[in-house]
Symmetry: C2
DNA sequence: AAAAAGCCTTGATTTATATCAACAGATCCG
DNA sequence: CGGATCTGTTGATATAAATCAAGGCTTTTT
């Protein structure tokens, strides 16, 4: 039930069986149907979700009803509205499932308790965050400095799994483009 | 010499005098002249810089010689090529001083030693990183979802100090725009 | 099985931004 | 001090992306 989660954990910090049991006692498993919300903008994000199976996405909606995808999360990734999670302010993003999914929830209080009882866990959260930060910086850099065409090629090479499992118009949104534009860019690339 | 640095530290984790001394022993102060490089792309980023005084920026240069500004750092901020710092791979960014500046360097080995001897410090680095992550996420979100005009207004309201101290064309670059375009956008905003 | 919804593509047109070029004021530097 | 560099603005034109509209294919729902 928590296989991937502990696999990910143990890759970064080796845990004893006892430590695993402590952590396990604070986790909440949850299943989501396709399209089901994990979080709606305006609510407070009370937990970080680790994806055991399936795909989730975080996105915002503007006045015109357009969706802007902020993040995808496949197996082994975590997803949350971190700002809301940390500050307790209302979330700016919606999070929902793109397919039937299984996740592990770590609430704020669970995280605090785990940190107290398994100090090593802080190293894990720091490494997690570092990875997330670097990934986001790469994304930002590519938006600012690469022509759209190369940005798409880079995206595909870094996240082939997302490219396969997520509808194209959502990838367009993730890249800050309209679906028609991405379609034309793909055509152009294919013709080379 | 390290006033701002310890002020920032003590806001997040209260330190004893002994702990401060330990940390202090691992720090390296440095002065930079305007235009002086702290890091050049291709080199390994050996330290995180905390800005005591002045302004630095991180940027990349593309084939056409265009600069793309990734980050500014004023007093109280930190700056580095985090990816290079963590992995030891060559840096992708240049970092230099926009004015005469004073910084505090924390090398990788210094950080490791501090973490060993002052475990609390990990909480600080985690909070630092969390803040940096949230700031970057906000920036990314605004790039993807806001029209340029509102993005600029938001930038000004969040970073009035940067807007005042940094040349406009660098802010344009930070926003992924050409200087002419930003100039026109400002004109448009002013006429309202 | 049929209807509906979701998804991707293509074409025509509009809008936003980049590019090219020139200029004027400010600041830096020998 | 005076020329050079840096900076911000404006205009004309070219290019890229958004928008509007339609069609066909696939998947989901009833």
């Amino acid at each position: 039930m928590y296989e991937l989660f502990f696999k990910s954990l143990n890759e970064k910090i080796a845990l004893t069986k006892e430590e695993e049991e402590i952590i396990k006692s604070y986790l909440t498993p949850k299943k989501l149907r396709k399209k089901q919300y994990l979080l709606q903008a305006g609510d407070v994000c009370k937990a970080i979700a680790f994806v055991e199976k399936g795909t989730l996405r975080a996105y915002s909606t503007d006045e015109k009803g357009n969706e802007h995808i902020i993040q995808f999360a496949l197996e082994g990734w975590t997803i949350s509205d971190l700002y809301s999670f940390i500050t307790g302010e209302p979330a700016q993003y919606h999070i929902d499932a793109l397919e039937d999914s299984e996740i592990v929830l770590i609430t704020k209080s669970a995280q605090d308790e785990i940190l107290k009882r398994v100090p090593k866990y802080e190293t894990y959260t720091r490494m997690q965050l570092t990875g997330a930060y670097m990934a986001m910086q790469r994304r930002l850099t590519s938006i600012i400095s690469l022509p759209v065409e190369e940005r798409y090629i880079q995206f595909i090479s870094i996240y082939p799994d997302i490219a396969q499992r997520v509808p194209q118009h959502m990838i367009a949104s993730y890249m800050g483009l309209k679906p028609e534009t991405l379609s034309r860019i793909r055509k152009k690339i294919a013709s080379k």
